[in-house]
Symmetry: C2
């Protein structure tokens, strides 16, 4: 191979210069954090990353994740060098409407970027997901992840390290840009590469330290990392602002563009503006096995009561039987969420991540970026551990199919630490989410089936205890729909999941008293069936919304929001959890929370008295 030293160094200087130019044009951004990794990116893009620039999602390609997302200018400069974007686009950095955003995001116009970054510590798990996806398909690629040294303080990095070595992922290479300086000064470990080598070794990785501005050393390290059968961490000692004397290793420059009156001086010191174009290495020939959906078996069905968590596992197992794109992830609770049922059928498409929810979501984000239809499941309460990863998934336009089991006070004796009580609020608030909460086995199966084809983040909330069958097998459950389970014209009871059953019992109680209550199953919390709710309020004058969730941000707020599109012609009463629960039986806790049938019936009666009074005023 020819001596590429000059090219690599020229390309690194170009990346540094372009990072300075782009951030100076933007008036903000992180040039010095980009300059520290310029050589690392130059050697990677010139001679190691195998990708088809014209077809960035080709299955044979390597993939690259910039976990230190604030170094976006360096990534854009590299994308310019490989011809993915042009100089005008580079210089549109951070402008309104430009796909060259302040931190990387996989916009339609930016297909070379797989996931959004900018919340630190998340990229390694995504890289692991990409690497696992490649391995599942027998693809030849490697996943490369560039980390910053500050983010090595995030536990999520070490969680992903643990999972990567456990899964013996040989096609994952992580590079730490050890530039010593964080946002506010020195990092915890400064230039002490040994700390990270010892830790990586203890976490089962190959690890080596290099001078991150020595292109020959970088080239060797990359070559060795790819050859290594273990995941490899390259700790690259670098200088923040390298190559410009007034920036290099100087504090106080984090997130600051070079001032306009010093841009020329900085660029001159780096050898001026260059217009190098490179072609990345061609991926090896690879034809993935054709994905052929099998003929579906009959979907699961239930005659009697079943827990919706069980129906979720049944539905996934059924889907996995005919959809070879489907992958299921667990965080060591598969016997509770019932994803273990999938493991039993298709172990090769089941990924056990142990109690590591952040890694589970990161890996899922990587798997879906590689084209997999991935489901993750844990207790709804514990998805809170990965809320930032899910948030970044929304910004990544990722298709994340999530299940949170053991929802609400209805789990009973285990107590509040295990109860999902804020999950509807947090999931509803994210961009582009679908939030589902089925009440019986049949509707669960149909909603899981729908999730497999949904875009964006979809969340299904399941229940620990068995609930009675409500629907026929041929019933369909469109996203955004609802079901009227009982007609009535004096009051409407709206529930979802377990509270649908409480509403039905309340309907019976009220009916025996001559009160006619309508019952709606709002299995689709977001989008919600605004039309059915408006009609119900119009027809009955009172809507009582009952949810096994905190009173803020859940079904009740979704109903109010749906109604607020027009004048609200009646009363909306929210029954939900307003105090901190303890242990107890599901029945005791629902009664305590005021979301059981008796409480609903009382609220309905009271609402009628209120109206009668109002009418006689």
């Amino acid at each position: 191979m020819e001596d590429r030293t000059q090219l690599w160094n020229d390309l690194a200087a170009q990346i540094a210069v372009d990072s300075i130019r782009a951030t100076a044009a933007a008036g903000s951004g992180h040039p010095t954090s980009s300059m520290s990794c310029a050589h690392l990116l130059a050697v990677l893009f010139a001679d190691h990353l195998r990708t088809d620039v014209a077809d960035p999602k080709a299955p044979a390609n390597d993939r690259f994740v910039l976990s230190k997302g604030h170094a976006a200018p360096a990534l854009y400069a590299a994308l310019k060098a490989i011809g993915a974007i042009d100089d005008a686009q580079l210089l549109s950095l951070r402008r309104f409407g430009s796909p060259v955003e302040g931190h990387p995001a996989p916009l339609p116009a930016m297909p070379w970027i797989d996931v959004a970054s900018g919340s630190l510590g998340q990229g390694l798990a995504v890289g692991l997901g990409l690497a696992l996806g490649m391995r599942m398909d027998g693809a030849p690629g490697n996943a490369w992840v560039m980390l910053g040294d500050s983010e090595m303080a995030e536990g999520s990095v070490w969680e992903a390290m643990d999972a990567a070595s456990f899964h013996r992922v040989g096609n994952l290479v992580a590079v730490v840009d050890l530039n010593r300086l964080g946002q506010r000064g020195a990092t915890m470990h400064g230039w002490d590469a040994e700390v990270f080598l010892r830790r990586a070794d203890a976490f089962g990785w190959s690890a080596l330290a290099i001078d991150g501005h020595d292109v020959g050393a970088i080239d060797d390290a990359y070559r060795n990392a790819v050859a290594d059968e273990r995941p490899t961490l390259i700790v690259a000692r670098t200088e923040k602002g390298h190559g410009v004397s007034f920036l290099a290793d100087q504090p106080g420059w984090h997130g600051k563009p070079v001032p306009a009156d010093r841009v020329e001086e900085a660029i001159d010191e780096l050898g001026g503006v260059r217009e190098l174009q490179i072609t990345p290495r061609t991926p090896p020939a690879f034809t993935p096995s054709a994905i052929v959906d099998a003929q579906p078996a009959a979907p699961p069905t239930y005659d009697g009561p079943v827990a919706t968590r069980k129906a979720f596992g049944d539905a996934l197992t059924w889907l996995a039987g005919h959809r070879p794109d489907l992958v299921v992830l667990d965080a060591e609770v598969g016997n509770s969420t019932h994803t273990e049922d999938v493991e039993a059928v298709v172990p090769g498409r089941f990924v056990q991540l142990y109690i590591a929810e952040q890694t589970m979501i990161g890996v899922q984000t990587g798997l879906q970026a590689y084209g997999k239809t991935a489901f993750s499941a844990t207790f709804g309460a514990f998805l809170a551990r990965a809320f930032d990863q899910i948030r970044m998934g929304a910004i990544s336009r990722a298709d994340l199919r999530l299940c949170g089991s053991h929802a609400g006070v209805s789990i009973g004796e285990d107590g509040p630490s295990q109860m999902a009580l804020e999950d509807l609020a947090s999931m509803r608030a994210l961009h582009g989410t679908t939030v589902l909460y089925p009440s019986d086995g049949i509707s669960t199966v149909r909603l899981v089936e729908a999730m497999a084809d949904l875009e964006g983040i979809s969340y299904i909330r399941t229940t620990r205890e068995a609930t009675p069958r409500l629907y026929d097998e041929d019933e369909r459950f469109p996203i955004g729909g609802s079901k009227m389970l009982a007609a009535g014209d004096q009051v409407t009871l709206i529930g979802a999941g377990v509270t649908v059953h409480q509403c039905l019992v309340a309907h019976e109680i009220l009916g025996a008293e001559g009160i006619s209550a309508r019952v709606l199953d709002c299995y689709s919390v977001k989008p919600i069936d605004a039309e059915a709710i408006r009609h119900a309020l119009h027809d009955t004058g009172v809507v009582i919304v009952v949810e096994d969730h905190r009173v803020e941000g859940g079904l009740g707020d979704a109903v109010l929001d749906a109604l607020s599109a027009g004048p609200i012609d009646g009363r909306v009463i929210k029954l939900a959890v307003t105090q901190l629960p303890g242990s107890g039986t599901p029945e005791e806790l629902r009664a305590w929370a005021g979301i059981d049938a008796a409480s609903i019936a009382t609220a309905a009666r009271d609402s009628l008295i209120g109206r009668a009074t109002a009418r006689t005023e």
Copy 2:
């Protein structure tokens, strides 16, 4: 010292038996996970944990955190052995109304428990916070943390390990109950204690492995750990279900009580029911320095525009000057959140945790359990990383004072990964929270002052850019209040934070057109000023709520909820972020989101047209 072997073994057997009895009585729970740590707890409570049972919050006491919260029966059994609770209370495990909950919780009737556990991986950071609190006060105590082996997969554990060694915390001892079996089968590393020793060593801890059922080895390990100047990890190889042949190291018993027909057999094998009572070691004499609040200086004030994040830092610095109980935590963004201003004044009460949000909140939870008035701050977006820790803080009845800076699309060019857009929704949904969002420097200072004395979780949302002064220095801002900044009778504009200023500009625009708009500053999002909002709707017929936040779960939903307490006599229009933002200037992004003054004015005009039409129908 006398030979305590017999006592320790008897006490361990009693803890195992009582765990079996309590869970059998409850019909649920985790006896086998309790039995694996019975010897570890017996030796700890009998001879190492120095505490005054009658005064569990005494500053000289050691503190104990059961990170593996599902082993709660073992903890309750130990509390019974030291006379904190009696046998009847033990047997009330998991019953409705009992303070002996399914997972530990620091209820008023359970003062020996400092924090709730049950979401794994969180206890070590809490222990670190307790240890740091002791050190700040010169107290003689140690913080002890019992971890499960499954939770060692959580990155949050390693994040806390890193922080503990960085802070050279010698009074922290962690014990891993390495019982090999997780919820669904073998853990990732089984009985391989060496893995954890290597990792702990690489993370700067002392570490040793022992047989976790050998009481002499446990005693030695505890003694050495306390003497060690470094934090120490004791990896104790144990058997799940130890001491009962049909349970010991058997799969399939996680979270299952011993069946009624085998309870006697199990208890017999453990030597029967015992009634040992022990007295923990007495803590050394220690008189903490008297906490004497200094005379407050004049609070910060501002003539012109200031960023509320700057005012937050100023307010904290001011408070720290006269409140010696105040401690401030940073996750390496103190120059953005302005907590670095506190560091400059009281470095001994500033804790730098680097980019480790989960550890920051865990440490804060520990510090407040030790009696400190602790504030944490990072970007609002990155508090999402610690959402599960904050959730557990709510269950812990912890007083956590949180600041999320850089809220909303108004941060501009950095893009969506850095924008807090779901924080109001997630913080509102938690039990007992106070959610504040000031619009100028004066109100920020007063709200931060109020937070220092608030119970529960309080959250203040601050803004990146400077905003004009709105209030006089003598204005007061009660929690749950609002301010009417402009009178008007045709339409009400409700904002908080940055949108208050947009509402005021819209008020001017509309006024010039002869439209009279009321403007409310809802600086208190939770609790919200329901009365002022109801009056506004009554007086003006239309309320337009404007927020720099997602449309779900934030200020708009809070306003709707407040109004739904009665008939909603008018229209509520929500202006909020409904699409995924990119980069841009704050002005461009507010206009794009439809939350700028022009958009508000348009919505106000449209609402009047709508009403005029409605009247002529």
